[in-house]
């Protein structure tokens, strides 16, 4: 790729990024506004899909893959499963402290944006994160692990403890779901037969 091509590509990806971030903002506003929870679930799925596309533009294909599979796929199905158990319209609450909430959210948002001014620029080679262990991963991970995908070698080898912890988290989540609601239908069936346990 020549330098000119690179510049054009950079502008193009900025345009795409802006468009997709706008999409995400609009989706988020619609999620906040809508009362129909079925539409909200669909919109969160769309939000995740746009986020996944954004990660692809940022060259984070592994993250994009996970976002598309979990955020847009499984999470949507689980939310729909939850909707099937509850009502699909949000209860409208009048009054409340809407103004206070708006002020609080605005202040928090302003503080967060202010904090980003301290952050290094995106892709800055002198940023702390790019000077610590990243050079070693990029230079040596292929030789040390024989795995061409750096993300995989970092996840499964250099950061094997973290990934093991994540696996245990998923295990615990499923175990918790089994413990809390896994046996409910059986109980209900027994109650239907005439038992009067609470």
């Amino acid at each position: 790729m020549t330098f000119d091509n690179l510049v054009t590509a950079t502008h193009m990806s900025e345009l795409i990024n802006t468009a997709m971030l706008l999409f995400m903002a609009v989706t988020a506003l619609a999620v906040a506004k809508l009362r129909n929870l079925f539409a909200v679930v669909m919109l969160t799925g769309i939000y995740s899909l746009v986020a996944a596309a954004l990660y692809v533009v940022l060259d984070a294909v592994d993250v994009a893959f996970t976002e598309a599979a979990v955020g847009a796929g499984v999470a949507t199905v689980l939310m729909l499963g939850t909707l099937a158990l509850t009502k699909d319209t949000e209860k409208v609450t009048t009054g409340g402290n809407a103004l206070k909430a708006l002020v609080l959210v605005t202040i928090t948002g302003a503080v967060l944006i202010w904090a980003t001014f301290d952050m290094p620029l995106y892709g800055d080679p002198t940023a702390p994160i790019n000077e610590h262990v990243a050079p070693r991963y990029i230079n040596d991970s292929g030789k040390e692990t024989g795995v061409p995908n750096i993300v995989t070698s970092v996840l499964a080898s250099y950061r094997g403890y973290d990934t093991m912890g994540e696996t245990f988290v998923i295990f615990t989540a499923a175990a918790g779901v089994i413990t809390i609601i896994g046996r409910a239908p059986k109980k209900r069936r027994r109650k239907d037969k005439g038992g009067s346990e609470a």
């Binding site: 696996t167 175990a175 896994g182």
Partner: protein, 154 residues
């Protein structure tokens, strides 16, 4: 009675093998391209979830019974931590894959493959388990025609 959702059911029967194949591709190809155990587990779990959505939780549980998902759930974690313990027994640190083979690079490749299998197994089982636990709550409200006799509890 197969009239309802018949197009979706037929199409999904064509699609599910490919979804599963793609899951295994992502699992075994994670060291070359994007993907790995987590993504593969989610995709494989999604194949079972798709089947359960279209054919009912009862039939879904016939395909992958609760004891299988529970076994997979704990087996994956066991494979992962077992790999670590194996490295300990072979004289290295916990999860130090260099010990798994005479050549450190081969050991790393083997170790990464093993832990990714562990992650994939647990994630598949977790996705299916969580979905069945939620969907099982309302299974008796579904159409009864396709309901296979429920095995045991969720």
């Amino acid at each position: 009675m197969i009239h309802r959702k018949s197009i979706l059911r037929v199409v999904s029967k064509f699609l599910i093998p490919f979804i599963m194949l793609f899951a295994f591709y992502v699992q075994w190809h994670g060291d070359f391209g994007p993907g790995g155990g987590f993504q593969a587990g989610v995709i494989l779990g999604a194949a079972f979830i798709l089947y359960a959505i279209l054919f009912g939780v009862g039939f879904g549980r016939k395909v992958i019974p609760p004891w299988v998902t529970r076994l997979m759930l704990s087996l994956g974690v066991l494979i992962y931590s077992g790999t670590g313990v194996l490295c300990l027994l072979l004289g290295g640190n916990f999860l130090d894959y260099n010990m798994l083979s005479h050549d450190p690079v081969h050991g790393q490749e083997l170790g990464i493959t093993l832990v990714e299998i562990g992650v994939g197994t647990t994630v598949t089982a977790a996705m299916v388990t969580i979905f069945f636990a939620f969907a099982g709550q309302s299974e008796r409200d579904d159409e009864g025609d396709l309901e296979a006799p429920a095995d045991k509890e969720a």
